[in-house]
Symmetry: C2
Subunit: 232 residues, 2 copies
Amino acid sequence: MFRSFGGDGFPVVRRSRLTGQPAARSGHLDLLVALEGIGVRRAVARDAEIYGEGSPCGGWYKVISGTVRICKLMADGRRHIAEFCFAGDSFGLDIGGEHLFSAEAVSDAIVMRFPLHATRQLIDKNQHIARGLCELTLRGHAHAQTRMLLLGRMTAIERVASFLLELAERRDATRVLDLPMARLDIADYLGLTIETVCRVLSGFKRHGVIAIPSAHRIELLDRDALAAACDA
Amino acid sequence: MFRSFGGDGFPVVRRSRLTGQPAARSGHLDLLVALEGIGVRRAVARDAEIYGEGSPCGGWYKVISGTVRICKLMADGRRHIAEFCFAGDSFGLDIGGEHLFSAEAVSDAIVMRFPLHATRQLIDKNQHIARGLCELTLRGHAHAQTRMLLLGRMTAIERVASFLLELAERRDATRVLDLPMARLDIADYLGLTIETVCRVLSGFKRHGVIAIPSAHRIELLDRDALAAACDA
DNA sequence: CGCCAGTTTGACCAAGATCAACGCAAGTGG
DNA sequence: CCACTTGCGTTGATCTTGGTCAAACTGGCG
């Protein structure tokens, strides 16, 4: 996932890691406005597809509201979710002219679509935007590598604990965490089955680490225990 | 992994996907020469570290010869290999000022190091280099996503079959495939144990899908069977 | 109220991990 | 030149984690 590129906050490109130069300078704000200008708003209903695997990649997206999942289906129906994108996250900038994964709305969502040709023109005008895009991709790559470690080497308990903490951090939740996605989505994100996710959550509840007031709401009662479970 | 950026071949930036423009034009070759100019050659012995996890990221690298692994160690010793880099592949361009993974030589290797500050100057002179770097990262991200699917949802047999085919493709091997890495490296790359890797390889051998003339050499006798095993 | 989709729990099963030998080829030193 | 060591690789026996199958539960909604 690419977090917070463009729009409100714009924390990612505030400083370019590659150049070490602060990116905020004259002309920068204009670009933001320009970016907003070329974006096309689009509402997506729950479970509706934003783009399909293999479809031509003619633009990239940013989540305005709601949650989006980036996923892939195997021939026999096994599914894998590469990432969840929340408000402010960008996605869909794939290489090779077509999307490698499909994007679907987890809940009713609004996304902004930035056509590639218009983005190109912006890039030609000012390379800050190119740096931002590059940084975004780099960030996504770092996230993917961390997730590879999780999928390749972590136990079910560690995966679920990591997931809860990641989600809490990304959604700035201190205690109460609401999950926009279903258990099956979590399972497919963590490389587990829905039953295992349930069991681990129930286990955490039994040990007083979390509370589950409703299926899509989790209270983090003992964050330290979760953190300990991550690299046990 | 970032394949073939800069130097001989330079296939990746031959056409920029983002802009759709052919990147080869006047001044391009100069940049290649310039890139070679800022690179510092370094020989690395087998199993020696090129940079460590958490060390400051002051440059990126390209493999000249040999093989490099990008890996991470968990607190309790579990290891994960994010990628293998062969001659021509680039690596080490991490975000956030420090390396998230460590890089080690699988076999005796020679790498070229490109300091970040010098790269910046090149970028300022011509943005083709920025595009190339960006494309490289995008490519790495695509690879990482594919690997997430493998680690999250594939069986041991599918993983090993995918590995053999990936390796064959990347090393342009038609039949005979030599593995520079040890079984343990393969296991840590595929999220398996060394015993499972051995057993699966032995199984393939028993069914006549491959031959194993020596531990580090594998002959692909039935490529179709391997391909079928990938998405069985 | 009853249905339905999603969630939870339990009983059982299997893929792959762990533990333990054994094989084998490349050094190493006498 | 040959015992001996050492580091991988391979194979077998057993165990554990998480998957599979099945049933019960829960909350929302017509």
